[in-house]
């Protein structure tokens, strides 16, 4: 399979603080990458650079051969760890908002996803729980025909039942045409969705590889490998 994403020597600083430090990796089309690291390791910044929200200080990133910019914004769907929707909106307002904003938004697919998530269109966002808002945002993102999905902590602050539904949705939505990057520190719940794993520490890649190869070479689950790796560092 060809590479959908190519990242080379990417660096992003906030003032003198280096958030992403000389990161290089590739991701094939149709693969799911687990981006793992503790809080403050640079996961969100890396995703924001790939989404075209933050500009790198050095290095390059290409999505389907295009350098990050106007063209790639239409190909990437970013799920922020902060709710981007106005809380006064109802679910159907949010759908209209997305449909206006993104030409690749598929309303039929969105309805299917909301149905599976058991979310009513009449809910007002203000009155929804954190888990419900996460499910709504995930449905909105996955209703786009994007090529690269960037999910920042999709399970953060969500109860175990909602987590399972979110993981199932990720698997159901998986397509061979697109790739997904999932950042998480709740590794156990999502590790069976990963093809590849990349661990970040202070903005640097400290471990990466094929998820199944890592399991057999270390004799550990990805979750245990994650805990072991960072116990030695922190």
């Amino acid at each position: 399979m060809k590479n959908l994403l190519e990242v080379q020597n990417l660096t992003k600083k906030y003032g003198s603080k280096i958030a992403v430090d000389d990161v290089s990796f590739t991701l094939e089309q149709g693969k799911i990458l687990g981006l793992l690291g503790p809080n403050g390791s640079g996961k969100t910044t890396l995703l924001k650079v790939l989404a075209g929200i933050q500009h790198p200080n050095a290095g390059t990133a290409h999505i389907l051969g295009n350098s990050i910019g106007v063209e790639t914004k239409g190909q990437t769907a970013f799920l922020s760890d902060v709710n981007p929707l106005f809380t006064s909106m109802k679910v159907d307002d949010a759908i209209d908002f997305y449909a206006d904003f993104f030409t690749d938004f598929d309303k039929v697919k969105c309805d299917e996803l909301l149905d599976f998530m058991k979310l009513s269109k009449n809910h007002r966002i203000k009155a929804m729980s954190k888990g419900m808002i996460e499910k709504l945002n995930l449905s909105l993102i996955f209703a786009r025909r994007a090529r690269l999905f960037l999910l920042d902590e999709p399970l953060g602050g969500v109860d175990p039942v909602a987590r399972e539904r979110i993981v199932t949705t990720i698997i159901k939505t998986y397509s061979e045409d697109s790739s997904i990057i999932i950042s998480s520190h709740l590794v156990h719940d999502v590790e069976n969705t990963f093809d590849e794993v990349l661990m970040l520490h202070e903005g640097k890649i400290i471990l990466s590889g094929d998820a199944e190869d890592l399991r057999s070479s270390h004799g550990l689950s990805i979750n245990d490998l994650f805990v072991k790796t960072f116990q030695e560092l922190l």
Binding site: I171, D195, E212, D213
Partner: protein, 121 residues
């Protein structure tokens, strides 16, 4: 199905299918679920299920029929072959764990026969 961490997921899926064959849940000529169906059901990456299916086919346990799906091959000797292979895997895991816990060969045999005698009572 619950996965244990240290063994690759695709190997666990292969073992799962093999167990289904041994217990008679799956028989020769039976169709197995599509990659997507099993991925949904087990909540694992479809690429992982696909890899398990490729390996099963390579081992001659299944065959893909164009446009129809994946089937268990209708081979009578297969069940015995898988049984032997699976038992070797399970015994190996068990013996290694026992040895690592400091048990001698005689003790392992003793404990196993003691356990089996209890089961038959």
């Amino acid at each position: 199905m619950q996965f244990t961490g240290s063994i690759p997921i695709y190997e666990q899926i292969m073992r799962y299918i093999k167990k289904e064959i041994i217990t008679g849940e799956l028989n020769g000529e039976d169709k197995i679920p599509s990659v997507r169906d099993l991925a949904d059901r087990l909540s694992v990456n479809p690429n992982t299920v696909s890899r398990a299916y490729q390996e099963l086919e390579r081992e001659g346990l299944t065959e893909t029929r164009r446009g129809m799906g994946t089937y268990i091959v209708g081979d009578k000797t297969m069940k015995d072959r898988i049984k032997k292979e699976l038992s070797q895997d399970l015994v190996l895991d068990f013996v290694e764990e026992m040895k690592a816990s400091g048990f001698t060969a005689e003790e392992i045999i003793g404990f196993v026969s003691e356990r089996l005698e209890k089961e038959t009572l």
